[in-house]
Symmetry: C2
Subunit: 416 residues, 2 copies
C-alpha cells in the first residue's frame, strides 16, 4: 500500500482552538481509497517547520496531503513554502483571479487586492478548483512524490477532495487497490454479546484477510468490514450479512453506514405515517434528532417535552395517581405518555422516554441510568426498561438512539 502522510498546518490546531476534523476526514477517505496513512502531523504556519516536514515526508511517502495556509492573509504561508521547497516560482493565473472576483461580485462586493495572492500557483502545478471558496488547491509531482495542498476550511476541503482530488488520485495512482467497506449497524445488544454472536466467522475473516472493526457509539454499534475486491472476500462478507439478516434480525438496524434519523426518514416517507414524541429524560434530543433530516416536517408533527411532572399531568394527561404509585420512571407512566401523545398530537406513532439521566434523581431501586422507552401505535404498545450508565449526556444519547433503533426494527419486522 502507498505510504501517505497528512500534514495539517495552522496555529489554531496547536493551541487547542480547533479540533482537527480534517485529519479524521482525510484519513478515512484515503484509507478507503487504498492508501496507507502512516503519520498525521500538525505544525504551525512557519516556513521553517513546513520545509522540514516536506523534507522528511518526500523521502518516505508516495503521497502527502497538506491542509491549511492557503488563505489571503500574511500568516498563510503554505503556497509560498511549497513554491520555494520545490523550486517552482509562483505563476499568476488570470482565470483563477477572474473566478475569485466573480465570487465577490456575486455578493455585491469588490474583491480585495489581498485575495490576488490566491491566484498565484507554483509552476506546473495541477490545479484543483474551489467552487465554494476562494482558495484553490493544487498538486505538485516532484521528488518521486505527489504533494497535494488543500484549504483548511473543513467544508471547502471536503468539497474539493470529493470533486477534484479523488478522481485525480484514482487516475494517477493506477496501482491502487481500494478497500471495499461494508457496514452493519446494530442496536439493543452489547458489544461483547455481538462479538460472541459473530465469533464463528473469526477464523474465516482472518484467513481471507478481511479486517473487522467494532465501533460502538451510545446506543449503537457499527461493525465495519474492510476487504479487497476479491471474490472470495466479497462472498464471505455477503455470507456474514446474510447471517445477520437471518439470525440477528432483532438487533440489525441496517446494512449501510447511514444515520438512524435518515434510515427512519426513508421508512416514514414510504409508509406515509406521522410521528410524535413525548420526552422526559431526553428533553428534546430525540425530537431534534428526528428533525435533523431535511423534509422531516412531512411526517413529524411535534413533541411534548414533559420535563416536570406537572407537564406530564397537565399536558400529557398522565394521572397524578399513576406517577405517585409507580414513579415517573416506570412502565406505567411511559406507556401512558406514549398512548396519550398519540391522541393529543394526533399522530400514527408515538415514542415516549422517561429516565434518570443523572447525576441526581437516583433512588435505591432506580440507579442513575434507569430509563424506560415506549413506542405506541393505536393498537400496539412496546415498552422496555434499560439500565444505561453514569454519564448524563451519554444516557440521553443512548436513550434517543435506542428509541430510534427500536422503532426502525419494529417497522422493519412489520410489527408496527
Amino acid at each position: 500500500m502507498m505510504n501517505t502522510w497528512i500534514v495539517n498546518i495552522g496555529n489554531e490546531l496547536l493551541n487547542g482552538h480547533t479540533v482537527n476534523t480534517n485529519a479524521a476526514y482525510l484519513s478515512e477517505q484515503l484509507h478507503k481509497l487504498g492508501f496507507d496513512v502512516s503519520k498525521i502531523v500538525c505544525i504551525k504556519d512557519k516556513p521553517e517547520d513546513i520545509t522540514n516536514i516536506l523534507n522528511e515526508a518526500t523521502h518516505q511517502c508516495s503521497l502527502i496531503i497538506i491542509s491549511g495556509g492557503l488563505g489571503p492573509t500574511l500568516d498563510d504561508l503554505t503556497r509560498k513554502s511549497l513554491s520555494e521547497f520545490f523550486h517552482r516560482p509562483l505563476i499568476f493565473h488570470e482565470d483563477l483571479w477572474n473566478e475569485i472576483q466573480q465570487k465577490f461580485s456575486f455578493r455585491k462586493m469588490k474583491a480585495p487586492e489581498i485575495n490576488k495572492v490566491q491566484a498565484y500557483m507554483p509552476q506546473s502545478a495541477m490545479i484543483f478548483k474551489n467552487t465554494i471558496g476562494t482558495a484553490a488547491g493544487f498538486a505538485i509531482i516532484d521528488k518521486q512524490c505527489c504533494t497535494i495542498s488543500l484549504p483548511g476550511v473543513p467544508f471547502e476541503l471536503k468539497h474539493i477532495f470529493e470533486q477534484e482530488v479523488k478522481p485525480f488520485l484514482r487516475a494517477y495512482f493506477k496501482q491502487l487497490n481500494p478497500l471495499q467497506v461494508n457496514t452493519l449497524l446494530f442496536s439493543l445488544i452489547t458489544e461483547s454479546e455481538l462479538a460472541e454472536k459473530l465469533s464463528a466467522f473469526e477464523e474465516e475473516l482472518s484467513k481471507h484477510n478481511v479486517k473487522t472493526a467494532f465501533l460502538p457509539q451510545p446506543g449503537l454499534i457499527k461493525v465495519k468490514f474492510y476487504q479487497q475486491h476479491n471474490s472470495e472476500e466479497v462472498e464471505l462478507v455477503n455470507k456474514i450479512k446474510q447471517f445477520a439478516k437471518t439470525y440477528l434480525s432483532d438487533f440489525l438496524i441496517f446494512d449501510e453506514d447511514v444515520s438512524l434519523p435518515e434510515i427512519l426518514h426513508n421508512m416514514m416517507i414510504t409508509k406515509n405515517d406521522s410521528l410524535c414524541t413525548a420526552e422526559s429524560c431526553t428533553g428534546g434530543y430525540l425530537a431534534n434528532q428526528i428533525i435533523s433530516t431535511p423534509g422531516s416536517s412531512k411526517y413529524f408533527k411535534g413533541s411534548i417535552i414533559a420535563y416536570s411532572n406537572e407537564i406530564k399531568q397537565n399536558i400529557l394527561q398522565v394521572p397524578a395517581e399513576l406517577i405517585k404509585q409507580h414513579g415517573a420512571v416506570s412502565r406505567q407512566v411511559v406507556e401512558c405518555m406514549a398512548r396519550n401523545a398519540l391522541n393529543i398530537l394526533n399522530a400514527d406513532i408515538a415514542i415516549a422516554t422517561s429516565g434518570i439521566a443523572g447525576p441526581d434523581g437516583a433512588t435505591e431501586s432506580k440507579p442513575v441510568g434507569t430509563t424506560w422507552i415506549a413506542i405506541a401505535r393505536k393498537k400496539y404498545m412496546w415498552a422496555e426498561q434499560f439500565i444505561f450508565g453514569n454519564d448524563r449526556f451519554s444516557n440521553i444519547q443512548r436513550t434517543s438512539n435506542t428509541a430510534l433503533a427500536k422503532l426502525i426494527l419494529l417497522l422493519n419486522n412489520k410489527a408496527l
Copy 2:
C-alpha cells in the same frame, strides 16, 4: 517557552475511525500552562514508529506527552516501547495490581490476567494513578526531556491530566510562565462589527504583547486574550473588559468561558423563576441545550415542539387565522407562541422560535435562514427577526444560541 510535542498513538486515528479530541484538549491545556506545542504527531501502534518519534522528539523537546497504547491487549505497545527506548525494564507494582483488582471486584468481576500488564511500569518512572480506569500513566525523566505517557480514552486522559499531570508539570517546570487567559462572550453582533468596536485597543494590545483570538461559533463569538502575569498587561485586559461592560452591554453575555446553558442555569437558580420553550424550527434543540446542565429540572418545566401548524393551533392555541395572515414564520405567530406557552406550561418565562431552517420552505420574501425569536414574561414581550445562513444545522444552532444569549442579556440588564 518550553518546546513540546504531543504524540497520539492508535491505528484508529489513522483510518478516520476516531477524531483526535485528545490533541485539542492537551494542546489547549499545555498552551495555558505556558508550554509551546510545536508539533502534534499521530502514529500507529507500531514499536518501530514509536521509537523513531521518541528519537526525534527527545532531541528537540523539553516535554513530550504521549496518549494511547496503555490498554491490556496485545496491540497496546506504548509501555513496552518506552521501556526499551529508555532502557528501563518494566517493574511489577503490587499496589497497582491491587487497585486494578479492586476496580473489577467492585463490578463483581474477577480481574482478567491480561490486565496484569497494566501494573508493570518502567523502572524509576513517576506514576500517575488512574482512579477511573485501569491504565495508569507515568513520566520518565531522561535524555534531558520529560516524557509523559497517558491512556488514550478521552475521559480518563482528561481526569489524569487534571488531577495528576498538571500539578506535576507546575512543580517540575518551575520556570514556566503560564498564560493568563481572559474570555469575553458576545452575541447578537457580527464578528466584523465586534472587531471594529474593539479596534481602538489594537495598538495597545500589540505593544503589550497580548494575543487576541476571535473564535466565532454559531450565534456566539468568543474573544480570548492571552497575556503573561504582568501588571501592565493585566491592567490593559481589565480596561477592555470594563469597556465591554460599559459600552457593549447589549452584546456582552459573560466575561468567562462558560457555556450559555450554564450561565443561564446559575441565573435561573438565583432568581427562582421557571422556564419553558415553544419551538418550531429548533425542534427540541433549545430545550435540549437547557437540560444539558444537571439540575435544570429545578426551573425548566418543559416544551411544546410545534413542528407542524396543526400543533401550533391545537396545543399552543395559535389562531389559524394568524398563521394564514402572517405565515408561521412571523412576529405575530412567534409572539403568540411565547405568550400562550407561558399559560399552557405555567412558567414565568417562555422562549419561542419559528424559522426556515432549510433547505426547503423558503418563499420570495422569506429566504432560508429567516428566523423569529420571542421571549415573554407576563407583562413583557421581546421579538426579533434574524436572517441566518443556508446551512440547516447551523441555523438551528444559531437560533438556539441567540435565544439563550438574548435571555441572559435581558436578565442581566434587568429588563425581564
